[in-house]
């Protein structure tokens, strides 16, 4: 059938126009895809945050409950220190810090609310003794290092006091 109407015919799109439209559609698709990815990743991140927050809160609640339960009296601390820092452990920790030119002559451990370590060391020279003190001071296991009297010429023999730090951060 022929069309005799006077209405103008719809113009056919030129290839360039098709290209414009394709670019626009592609841009919309790309941005929608990016938005979808961002939404999905954001949702996953929010879930991860909620999970880790719940775990932190649960650990915090348990921590508070335990804090009030554990014995903090002298005997409780002593028993804890006896288990956590028996003499072989303290000796091993000290041995790791001793330079080859330094010897442990005497060792005294007093267990109470904390573990007090008193030792007599002899070093071949002052530099070796200084190195030992430096290592002892830097060690996470020992604190409150208090060196006693020392001679600086020849072999050094000195007393050193320190407090042993067990793993439990009170």
């Amino acid at each position: 059938m022929r069309d005799f109407s006077s209405r103008p015919r719809a113009r056919r799109l030129e290839p360039r126009e098709w290209a414009w439209l394709a670019v626009g559609a592609l841009a919309v698709l790309l941005s929608a895809g990016t938005a979808w990815d961002a939404w999905r990743d954001n949702r996953a991140a929010v879930v991860r945050v909620a999970t880790v927050r719940a775990e932190r809160d649960a650990a915090g609640a348990r921590l508070r409950a335990l804090e009030s339960q554990v014995r903090r009296d002298s005997m409780g601390n002593q028993a804890w220190l006896t288990l956590e820092a028996p003499p072989p452990r303290v000796v091993a920790d000290l041995a790791e810090l001793l330079p080859p030119e330094v010897r442990l002559e005497q060792l005294s451990l007093k267990y109470g609310t904390r573990l007090e370590v008193e030792m007599t060391v002899s070093a071949r020279d002052a530099a070796a003794y200084d190195l030992f003190l430096e290592r002892l001071g830097a060690s996470p296991r020992f604190g409150e290092v208090s060196p006693g009297e020392e001679n600086r010429a020849g072999e050094v023999k000195a007393q050193v006091r320190a407090a042993y730090r067990e793993e439990d951060a009170r």
Partner: protein, 163 residues
């Protein structure tokens, strides 16, 4: 012309979707990642403290159980036998042992031991005496040099309250 306008409109929609939706969501995600790292570090710190406290709680329970068990026995005799059993396994010499009841409220008995031996034996025995489950709590340990080997002077108590 219409096709170009439509294409421009589509580009505009794409820009708006990106600017109004995708970009803010990415920023939120970045903030969430920072928050996640902060919470994860807090959780790690708490869990490590928790592990230490749980060990401590377990130690409190075993201490209470040991104290209860000691209080139902002849504590001096049992403590002496327990030390002797450990000494039998050790190669120490010049052993002097004293076990007595105490008058302190938190301890039932006190054990004093002096002995001599090689440094390694002395250190090992001092650890064996207070091994987990022994029921002994250390008061003091002293290791000092002797002509032959090392002198060990050790004091432990048996924790507990009299019934």
């Amino acid at each position: 012309m219409r096709a170009r306008l439509a294409a421009l409109a589509l580009l505009l929609v794409a820009v708006v979707v990106y600017a109004a939706v995708a970009r803010p969501l990415r920023q939120q995600q970045s903030l969430a990642a920072d928050e996640y790292r902060r919470l994860r570090d807090e959780r790690r710190t708490q869990q490590s403290r928790l592990a230490a406290l749980e060990r401590r709680e377990s130690r409190d329970q075993s201490l209470a159980a040991a104290a209860d068990a000691w209080s139902r026995r002849d504590v001096v005799r049992e403590a002496r036998l327990a030390v002797l059993r450990t000494l039998d396994q050790a190669s120490l010499r010049d052993v002097r042992l004293g076990v007595s009841r105490t008058n302190t409220p938190a301890a039932l008995a006190s054990v004093k031991l002096t002995a001599q031996g090689d440094f390694g034996d002395v250190v090992h025995t001092s650890g064996q005496l207070v091994r987990p489950g022994s029921g002994f709590v250390l008061e003091s340990v002293r290791m000092s040099p002797r002509a032959e080997g090392v002198n060990l002077s050790l004091e432990v108590v048996v924790p507990g309250a009299r019934p």
